[in-house]
């Protein structure tokens, strides 16, 4: 049991570290961000420039084969790179979907022509990708989706709507799951496509979240044409293509759900007075800090166990569902504790209260979303119960019925 690099990992880490030091700014604090002060187009341009530089060094797609424009490296090298990059200021969220799920899916299912056309340029940051799966009537139950792809000559015509699409507003392409056969059962008649987001008939509307942020969009399709050459994977086999995309997504969860909210709470509780003493001396506050640490550092440790499995050539499985359950809940309870610390004053928004209150307040407001997005708490628990503990699946009456018969 150790946290040490193998000699190969250590060599790779040194190489990456040297490259990052020469090409990026070190992160100095929690509030230090890439592209601070830039407006959105400037930020995007800076992000793309960064991605191009990263690709030139070979780090844009470490586990991809060299012939696809990747580095031909190992998952362990990807982890080492991510650990080192986290110490520097690099763009958030912009390429997460591209590199994390969309492009690996293209790499896995795409035709040679698709790979040539899409991969290398996207690794270089020339194009941003998004992922068009969820719909208003298809959240937890993705198999219920109703976006229609109808054959039309040599191509397809898309009509329908997606929702909760990250980066739809900045994306050049998306992988789109649509229903192509209404006479098959719900998860069978689906097909995956590559969509040009600039195609006529695609309309993107940002969603205002309960937290007053805008991280997602609705995307509407009116007679959008897609050539059959942009079908991704076999016709009516889209469910399998989607599952492989979601598998890629799972492991990246950990990074989103660890954190240092407990350390922020320590800082706040030092400044706040309860009775006549610092709140940090109150056993209830201390217990809350300890529980936040247990959750957040626990998530990090569970992820490290997963990384160790990757290093051994295994792949982490459905037990990663625990990460999201623990981490999202910690945002909610830890964020609430931060707000409670100040009594009535704690209700004042951070803009008037002080910058150190911003992140805890934001975590509290965003937590309900974190408990829903990417699989609700209930979906995670079902996954653990069924796929880890071997308990029976839910009773289903809709599994083998033609989708057409389920409608209405």
């Amino acid at each position: 049991m150790n946290f040490d690099d193998t000699p190969e990992e250590a060599a790779f880490r040194a190489e990456v570290r040297a490259w990052l030091a020469a090409n990026a700014q070190p992160r100095r604090g929690r509030e230090d961000k890439f592209g601070a002060g830039l407006d959105k187009p400037q930020y995007l341009a800076a992000a793309k420039a960064w991605q191009a530089r990263k690709a030139a060094a070979g780090y844009a797609a470490i586990v991809m084969p060299k012939e696809m424009g990747g580095f031909g490296g190992t998952p362990a090298q990807q982890i080492v790179y991510n650990q080192e990059e986290a110490k520097f200021l690099t763009p958030d969220r912009v390429f997460e979907v591209s590199l994390g799920t969309a492009l690996p899916t293209v790499a896995m299912w795409g035709t040679p022509a698709q790979k040539v056309k899409y991969l290398a340029s996207a690794f270089r940051g020339e194009h941003i990708w998004c992922q068009l799966f969820s719909e208003p009537s298809a959240g937890s139950d993705l198999g219920n989706l109703r976006t229609r792809a109808a054959r039309d000559g040599d191509g397809w015509v898309i009509n329908g709507q997606k929702v909760w699409t990250s980066n739809a507003d900045i994306a050049d392409y998306g992988i789109l799951l649509a229903r192509t056969d209404w006479d098959q059962p719900k998860s069978k008649g689906l097909t995956m496509f590559i969509l040009d987001m600039k195609a006529p008939g695609v309309e993107v509307r940002p969603i205002r979240q309960a937290s007053d942020e805008y991280h997602f969009s609705e995307v509407f399709f009116s007679d959008v044409r897609i050539a059959d050459a942009d079908r991704l994977g076999p016709e009516n086999d889209g469910w399998k293509v989607m599952m492989s995309a979601l598998m890629k997504e799972r492991f990246s969860l950990g990074e989103n759900f660890s954190g240092d909210l407990y350390a922020q709470l320590i800082g706040l509780a030092k400044q706040v007075v309860w009775g006549e003493r610092p709140a940090l001396e109150d056993p209830r506050v201390r217990a809350g800090i300890a529980e936040t640490y247990l959750a957040q550092f626990g998530v990090e440790l569970i992820v490290r166990r997963g990384m160790s499995a990757i290093s051994r050539g295994q792949s982490p499985g459905p037990e990663m569902s625990a990460v999201k359950l623990i981490g999202a809940r910690a945002f909610q309870t830890g964020g609430a504790l931060a707000i409670e610390l100040g009594g009535a004053e704690g209700l004042v928004a951070a803009e008037a209260l002080g910058a150190q209150w911003r992140l805890p307040q934001l975590l509290w407001l965003a937590a309900p979303g974190a408990r829903i997005a990417g699989g609700t708490d209930e979906i995670q628990k079902n996954t653990i119960a069924e796929r880890v503990l071997g308990l029976p699946g839910e009773l289903r009456t809709d599994r083998d019925v033609p989708f057409r018969a389920l409608e209405g």
């Binding site: 007075v273 009594g343 928004a349 307040q361 509290w364």
Partner: protein, 362 residues
Amino acid sequence: MNFDFSEDQRRLQAEVRRVLADYSTSPNVRAVLEGRTLYCAETWRQLAALGALGVALPEAQGGVGLGLLELCLVAEEAGRALAAVPLLSSVYLAAEALRRAGSPAQQALWLPRLASGEVIGTAALAAAAHRISTAPPPCRVGDALTGTLHALPDGMAAEICVVLAGGELALVELNGPGVTRQALSSLDPSRPLARIEFAAAPATWLPGDGAATARAVTLGAATLLAFEQIGGAEAALYMARDYVLQRRAFGRVVGGFQAVKHKLADIYTKLELARAHAYFAAWALASDAPELPRAAAAARVAATAAYTLAAEEGLHLHGGIGFTWEMDCHLHLRRARWLGQIIGNEHLWRDALATALIEEAA
């Protein structure tokens, strides 16, 4: 024994509910949420017209001459309707302080105008047990008041403020000299806050033991807020229940999944517990019973827990759509947090409950 409200009281409640359903609509609440107005004036006028603002004030002072039990039911309906009005500040705190301890002149001057809603009051009746800011609290200098109030509810909308300063209660006109106000954005923007600085602000002083009055009014406010909280919790519960009965997934109504059913049953259970304690506190408040300190604290803690759970899990049960700005789920989430902290958070009140229990046991 009749541990419940009377039929007359229930009729009054139904009337308030009907009026709030018409006026405290989501668009009206959102006008306050989005900062376009300090409170929902139309809702306020309608409540005044119903007599709801002065329901516990004597007729001689412009009130309706009913009592605190009726005010509890007004509070429950205000909570249910997410009413964006200064009931806590003006009615539960300022008017109650003046009703209990104002001089005849103070009462004659202000109570009728508070009852009619023409004047909005607010109050700061306890030294903050939990403090972030260090500026010193208000204290008496001669007949004037000097010091700072952080995070005063409805501080921008109010004309008068009752302030506990060194064991005495001061009444200050907030539009008068020596008062500086600064609007503060709030985690529930539909219930705004303000920072108030008094610099030798002229004050009139309420006769009698100000600390005792402040304590009694605070216990009353805890009880009344508990009713707002159970109203809000019930609204959040049934909003979620209705949603899961129409939303379908995996070929079934989502409300048929056992995890969903049990989550709603958990909310219901916490709500019934809070309701039982709130009713007991209402009885203790209305009958001036010695159990009031424990009853009010228990109601406050149980109601805070119930509304927090109902708001958090009610949103969650809506899935993605619940996390959009357009749905009212986050209004409950924000309001539950605001109501749960504005006169002291649940840790404070839970400890107050323990203190009351220990004192009764001694």
